[in-house]
Symmetry: C2
Subunit: 564 residues, 2 copies
């Protein structure tokens, strides 16, 4: 069975391995939530499967204390009431350790095949997953489907492709022959085995639990490491579904389902610190706050720690030949999922003298009001607006919007407002807040204010803007930088800045690709250079430190003659 899974997914894996080398467009799983692709029954079946979960215990045959825990609440306002088995961490770790040897011994190809089968089964459940992601993260349905389903699954395939490709670089065996004299050859058989680094801990985030979690989960699994998944206590269901599918596939393929276990904790009794410091945990993947990411980097020295933390994503406006496109693109970027993407821009630097455009020069004030108007236009239809904005995942974000808006007073360019959704009356929907600032107000815009909050910052000129962005990148870090300029010299200076500070740069986006978006197999997500992250989804480093090579050698028994 298990080798058959590799054969079944082999062609997909080879294509994925080729894709990350060319970085041309590639996708395994269709991103459209279309009946034509996923089947006529899929949307309704997915919704029913999701609804059948509500108000019930989520059964997982894992070591448990016997208690049931659950603290999820839907930002869309529906009742969830799902309870999960409270983990017995000691027995889980013991079970994971016991599961390791057989998983190690089957080798990279079988592991890759099993991982692809898990991802394929997850893909078949993308509608159910979409509802799970929507009602925990607050994303709109379409985004929840795409980012939570096929895009996350593709990121998982990408990690498996890297893992298989790198592990294959190590030959299983070789014959090593060295001439040691005129007629003598020392001849050795050598064997090389891939062994995993140890147990992995994947700490899930509250906004993109699958998209951010799958690269880690599948990089660990594909290189032989059992994984404990510790979801955010408010966003459990998407990873619980993932664990359920993974365990079922593992079991069918003849492996111990303890290779993937779900550790649910609660806000009152968090488990991450304790888990992260267990000596058995050798790999930790974390997406979340800078404070906790820094803590992990410093306090879990027994583990290799991969973090994606907070940053301050910036925009530099200098000039454009498509003013309308620029504004529409930016309006969408600021609105999408209410700015709750780790890639959403926050600080938009504009020269005091305005910018040159195809519609003539535009002053700072004109840009500010035109951007506000572009957002208004985008969000004019409430149903469509709700779909784009989604909900505010964390009530603390609502307070943050309120606080910044109050403090800004007359500097509010566009106030954030609540939006009624026809179908979800209790949904926490807020439109983006735009605030103007002077470049000296670093206390205002100089740290991440998570949520739909953006600043239009008046810089002296474009070089002042570049210098200030450089400072933010050095001190706070960022995942993305967006720049608009028709001047090759200016863009070259911005490119130099992005290179020096290690941030992914998007230039002159005016169409249907947004700075927030990062495409599997082509775009590297985070660089590991600036303070926003110490790792990249997915590069060689993300995978290579998860396994080791153990060799043995012995003389070839027949005495070697001369030659060969």
């Amino acid at each position: 069975m298990s080798h058959e899974l590799f054969m079944r997914h082999r062609e997909t894996l080879e294509r994925a391995i080729a894709a990350v080398r060319t970085r041309e467009f590639f996708a395994v799983f269709p991103e459209s939530p279309s009946r034509k692709v996923y089947g006529e029954e899929a949307p309704a079946a997915g919704q029913q499967a999701f609804e059948a979960r509500l108000g019930r215990p989520f059964e997982l045959d894992q070591p448990t204390t016997g208690a049931w825990v659950g603290a999820e609440e839907s930002p869309w306002g529906i009742e969830l009431g799902i309870r999960y088995p409270a983990p017995d961490v000691d027995r889980m770790i013991a079970a994971a350790r016991a599961a390791l040897p057989a998983w190690r011994d089957v080798g990279p190809e079988v592991r890759a095949g099993v991982c692809l089968e898990i991802l394929t089964r997850l893909n078949a459940r993308s509608f159910e997953m979409a509802y799970a992601v929507m009602h925990t993260t607050g994303q709109g349905f379409a985004m929840a489907f795409q980012a939570g389903g096929p895009h996350a699954q593709d990121r998982g395939v990408e990690a498996v492709a890297y893992a298989l490709d790198l592990q294959r670089r190590v030959p299983a065996r070789t014959v090593w022959a060295r001439a040691t004299g005129r007629d003598r050859v020392e001849r050795f058989e050598k064997e090389y085995r891939i062994v995993p680094h140890g147990l992995g801990l994947v700490v899930g985030c509250s906004t993109f639990p699958t998209w951010n979690g799958y690269p880690s989960l599948f990089a660990d699994l594909a290189t032989g490491n059992p994984v404990l998944i510790k979801p955010h206590p408010r966003v459990v269901l998407p990873l619980a579904l993932t664990v359920e599918v993974a365990r079922a596939v593992l079991q069918e393929a003849g492996f111990d389902p303890a290779l993937v276990q779900l550790v649910v904790d609660t806000p009152e009794a968090p488990l991450t610190r304790e888990l992260a410091q267990r000596p058995e945990i050798r790999l930790i993947d974390f997406t979340g706050s800078t404070a906790f990411g820094d803590w992990l980097e410093r306090h879990a020295p027994q583990a290799r720690v991969f973090t994606e933390k907070a940053g301050v994503n910036c925009v530099i406006l200098h000039s454009t030949d498509n003013y309308r496109g620029m504004l529409a693109n930016l309006a969408f970027s600021l609105s999408l999922y209410s700015g709750q993407m780790c890639t959403t821009p926050q600080d938009i630097f504009i020269p005091a003298g305005g910018i040159a455009t195809d519609q003539g020069p535009k002053s700072f004030d004109e840009i500010a009001s035109d951007l506000a108007a572009a957002i208004d236009r985008l969000l004019a239809d409430p149903a469509r607006a709700g779909e784009i904005l989604g909900c505010i995942q964390n009530p603390a974000t609502l307070e943050r919007i309120e606080r910044v808006q109050q403090a800004a007073g007359a500097d509010v360019v566009r106030p954030s407002s609540a939006l009624e959704h026809p179908k979800f009356p209790k949904a926490r929907i807020r439109t983006p807040l735009l605030v103007r600032a002077t470049s000296g107000q670093l206390d205002l815009y100089g740290e991440e204010l998570f949520g739909p909050i953006a600043f239009l910052i008046e810089a002296d000129d474009v070089d002042d803007a570049i210098a200030r962005v450089g400072q933010l990148l050095a001190t706070r870090g960022a995942l993305t930088l967006l720049a608009h300029s028709t001047d090759a010299g200016v863009m070259a200076r911005i490119e130099q800045l992005a290179l020096e500070r290690g941030v992914a740069l998007s230039e002159n986006l005016t169409g249907g690709v947004y700075v927030n978006q990062s495409a599997a197999f082509s775009d590297y997500h985070a660089t590991g250079v600036n303070p926003a992250a110490n790792a990249t989804l997915v590069d060689e480093d993300f995978v290579a430190s998860r396994y080791h090579i153990v060799q043995r050698r012995r003389p070839v028994r027949e005495a070697g003659g001369a030659g060969s």
Copy 2:
């Protein structure tokens, strides 16, 4: 010039890249100190070059306080008296940072070419290097030549090969095209750039400064990182020569020599801790004590830390079809460089009931006395003995031998004795000490006792031996394990142990390959699994975490039509 260096070394690099994938025998630099290979004049010229260094300042045009420091002394007893410029660390770090951008921007191929040129020039100076290594580490001349010269240089080539191969996996650019509608295609140009992680610090060791240092130095350099080399204060000259050559080549190729700088400290005013905690230092490579390696792993969280620390290398004897060969091979392994290799066996486990051999059963006592006799035979000729044993590098090792020998009393199987060298009357030469122990005496044999000290430990039987070795591997770690058995079942259990504990296993060595030896391009040195090391010389992980990828993307300007 710089691209020309890549063309000059391209074929060698491609062959090296292929070699690490097949792991068959491969070498770039000839290991024999032969006049036929290196030229009639080379030995004398190397000796003269070395002697011309003695008693003089070693000029390096680096930032310095103006003072001169030097604390080397030759274990062979000759006067060295070399002084080195005392480092001005702040200015050195500033110089390294200033040198980074141009080195980053030339890309992987030019960097690989420059690195190969440095290694080729080092190879041409292998005789000078041999004397430098011999008179600082105490190695015999032949070993100093091989391990300090061509073998170290080959390890450097290996690191460059990995670095080039991995960096090449990232394309410089791509065109990414995604269909976004029936007739619409979003088309993007994307560019990807390799950027270095930051400044590297390579902390040299006192026994194999070049062999252990070159993989780190060249992995850093080849991936774009400037390097500060901090040699052991008693073993400076080999790395000073290396820095001199590297700086000359860099300068000739049009690069800033500040890419490679030598930071010499003294035992009285060590600099490593301070350097390791500088925020600018992002990569640290260390070979040395477990205590300091563990300290670095915990106290330099701003850096990726690669350590090779102490371990307890073991031997399990069960049975052999070549008793004489087994003893001769083991005698050589224990004697070579007086057990001062990180790969030398220390704890030899023997079943209480003895072992089966081609010469009939041998009891524990017979094996002990036969091994002692094999060592005596090997070292019978004083000149040859001095060449094999070399000198005791650190006087503390002399004290350790004395202490263990005194404490062992009647359990001494073979006493260590001083040996007079005809040419070097002051040389610190000691023969191996063999001590018998019961398996309960863990306090005696359970930690690394660096130097020519080995224990013959009576285990209940082979499975007791396997269990005890497993315990040592788990708690202390090891770089090597040697086993002798003609029983496939026994060997399978030992192989399983080696796999579980992550140690390189050598089986049934009876010829001219020794457990101490690790061949570039074929043998992985250390696994990163057990406590003896957290990294491997050289695998993908050793290189991939030294650089990152920064991308930029922009829409292709001509509006995309349908198709393609």
